[in-house]
């Protein structure tokens, strides 16, 4: 089972720097998700590892062996491209058997292997069908079977669930992970969907404009985002800008615009520093308007949105900022109404504090 290591890898297309000094170590048997918005360089990264393009700089090693100069067919990888790229002139069985056959397995033997893999994705009944005769979901499974049947131990998945309906996508997250794990493969999975990444990954790499923002377990990334971008891109987050007024041993007092003061449990800043506070929407609670506990700000309900497992209440605060609170559906007794007077509140321990940067908050969290 391969251990993959990328060190100082860079790749440019003309003037555009797609991947910039990228470092990553992937343990054998690990399921890595590369998460980032369109244009962040995810697909480029995958194609670099597959050997479909060459890095301008840096080293890529599999199990300690340098593979920079190896062509894709010599790397022993399985690649699952966006939109599947099933061979239209071959039927399902021949598509799946293509890998074993080119690697020199005898025709009959390759077919038997392919059938076995097709069984695991429940498509052995459609072995003789051509890709165009199958639904989108079935095509996705054929592509997966083709990748698995190749026998390669490193699986590269490019948005494997991206072309499916939302509901099906949720179902298949669990399926794809258990398939990969039970086959004992190392997987690198590229996606722009943070929820998908959280479910499937052992570790997540958050990528933005060709650079790594953060690497860590889903838990780590979610519970302690390293940058403003990650705090926004992963999860649903409220942002408030303010200035540190005073700091003591247990926390700091932050003054928001229009003079509101809130407490945070963060001591590493100096008085007078400008900061951005980030609070998860599910950790922002909705309170009666006369609530006078810690960090309470009054406001008016702007919209109430039903999300299934929770509701999202958007509140316009008295200082005109918009903040959302997310309440688990099992906790909703009465629906708040638009224009209701309410208060929002959050615990000092639940606030992430970030430095204000020269680029400004909006640019810092912008998803492009």
């Amino acid at each position: 089972m391969p251990e993959v290591r990328l060190s100082e890898v860079s790749k440019s297309f003309g003037r555009i720097e797609a991947i910039h000094h990228f470092d990553l170590e992937i343990k054998s048997g690990e399921y890595i998700c590369v998460l980032g918005p369109t244009g962040s360089g995810k697909t480029t990264l995958l194609r670099l590892i597959a050997g479909l393009i060459c890095p301008d700089d840096g080293k890529i090693t599999f199990d300690g062996k340098l593979v920079n100069d190896l062509s894709p067919e010599e790397r022993d990888i399985a690649y699952f491209p966006q939109q599947y790229a099933l061979f239209p002139h071959l039927n399902v069985l021949e598509n799946v058997a293509f890998g074993p056959k080119t690697r020199g397995v005898a025709y009959e033997e390759a077919k038997t292997q392919a059938l076995k893999v097709l069984e695991t994705v429940k498509l052995d009944q459609r072995a003789n069908a051509f890709p165009r005769e199958l639904s989108g979901g079935m095509q996705q499974r054929v592509a997966l079977a083709r990748a698995l049947a190749s026998g390669a131990k490193l699986l590269l998945l490019d948005e494997p669930l991206g072309a499916l309906d939302a509901r099906l996508r949720v179902e298949l997250r669990y399926h794809i992970k258990s398939l990969v794990k039970s086959a004992g493969l190392t997987a690198i999975h590229v996606t722009h969907d943070q929820r998908e990444a959280m479910i499937v990954a052992d570790r997540i790499v958050v990528l933005r404009m060709g650079k790594v923002e953060q690497v860590g377990t889903p838990y780590h990334i979610y519970q302690s985002p390293a940058t403003l971008f990650v705090a926004n891109f992963v999860g649903e987050t409220n942002f408030l800008e303010g200035t540190i007024k005073s700091v003591n041993s247990v926390g700091a007092l932050v003054e928001l615009q229009d003079g509101f003061r809130v407490k945070v449990q963060e001591t590493s800043y100096l008085s007078g520093e400008e900061v951005v506070l980030a609070i998860r929407q599910e950790l922002t609670s909705l309170m009666p308007v006369d609530y006078d506990g810690e960090n309470a700000i009054q406001g008016e309900v702007k919209a109430v949105r039903f999300l299934g497992d929770s509701i999202r209440v958007e509140v316009i605060l008295v200082n005109n900022l918009l903040i959302s609170a997310r309440i688990p559906i099992s906790q909703v007794k009465i629906y708040p109404k638009v224009k209701d007077k309410v208060a929002i509140s959050f615990k000092p321990a639940d606030v992430f504090v970030f430095c204000t940067t020269a680029r400004g908050l909006a640019k810092e969290i912008e998803v492009i």
Binding site: P37, T38, G39, S135, G136, G137, M138, L164, D165, A166, R167, L168, V170, E171, Y174, H192, D193, Q194, R195, E196, M198, I199, T217, P218, Y219, Y222, F233, V234, G235, E236, R280, Q281, E282, L283, A303, R305, F306, L307, G308, D309, S310, R312, E314, R326, P328, I329, S330, Q331, Y335, V367, I368
Partner: protein, 366 residues
Amino acid sequence: MTTVKVENLTKKYGEIVALDKVSFEIKDKEYLAIIGPSGCGKTTLIKCMSGIQSPTGGDIYFDGKPVKDLPLEERGIGYVFQEIALFPHMNVWDNVTYGPRVKGWPGDRAAKVARELFELIRLSVREREYPSSLSGGARQKIGIARALASGSDLLFLDEPLGSLDAKVRTELRYEIQNIIRDLGLTAVHITHDQEEAMSVADRIAVMKAGRIVEIDEPSKLYSNPETLFVSNFVGEANFLEGIVTKVTDDTCLVESQGLSLSSTEKSKREGEKIVVAIRPDFVSMEKRVNNGEGFAGYIENQDFEGSTIRYEVVLKDHRLFTIRLPQILGGLAFNIGDEVNLSVKPEHVLIYPYPEVGVQKELALA
């Protein structure tokens, strides 16, 4: 002021029936979402309503006036495309003012409307920029401004967020809905994403095989759907097969492989074969201290989802049961291997007649 009425709308492609006598009404200023799996006919429906395709039969009324025989350009609608479809040879400004221009509005009126729309969509783009230089989200915002520019009160949104990234998709859906609400428009929104539909719509129509199977408010559709198919399509659920053992005035008891559950559903007869649906969000879980009755098991799997944690519990009869707990309600307090007791309130135990085609087939998403 715009209302919509659709009566027995039918569309056939040769032998294939894409729309099968669809009827419904949309109130003035209502936001209706239409959802369903691929191939359910939702796209055909919006294309027939807007006039892009002509239906085989049935009638469509806007504000009580029949529009079925009006050509597309004379229906006075706004349409937002999944493909976004900004005119690639025109800059952003010319795109937005295209509607007013082809309607022969004087230039200053068109310019005024366009200015207001640029303000409304809160997008800092230069007017001379071409669509190709914009990000997907920005392009679709221009697409919305273009659709609104000729002052239509009726907006069709055809998978408007389908081509965008997940994060942009959630942000933009709220922005679009706010614009629609603030301008007091009537909207029809097609999507395959049930969460998107629930979060923005006043009512949702769920389609399957060319028909509307259910049309209702989002919370009703999620908490108490009328059909087994909808219960699965609008969100995750655990399905258990069983039979009704006892019916009283306000509850009914069901049994599923030795597991006994009580439900507030009243329309069932004793002895009826049924399917129980329970949403993972409505189950509570606690660590088992005593021996544990019926609804007990051990945690086999734990998935961290961010604000929630998803658990897979193996019941005593080896069936797998999914539970979702919010982090703020102690969701992280359990570990794999823990012995647990589960409980569900009777109003969250949904009961449906056993489907003729079998549960698997009835629930199939693709």
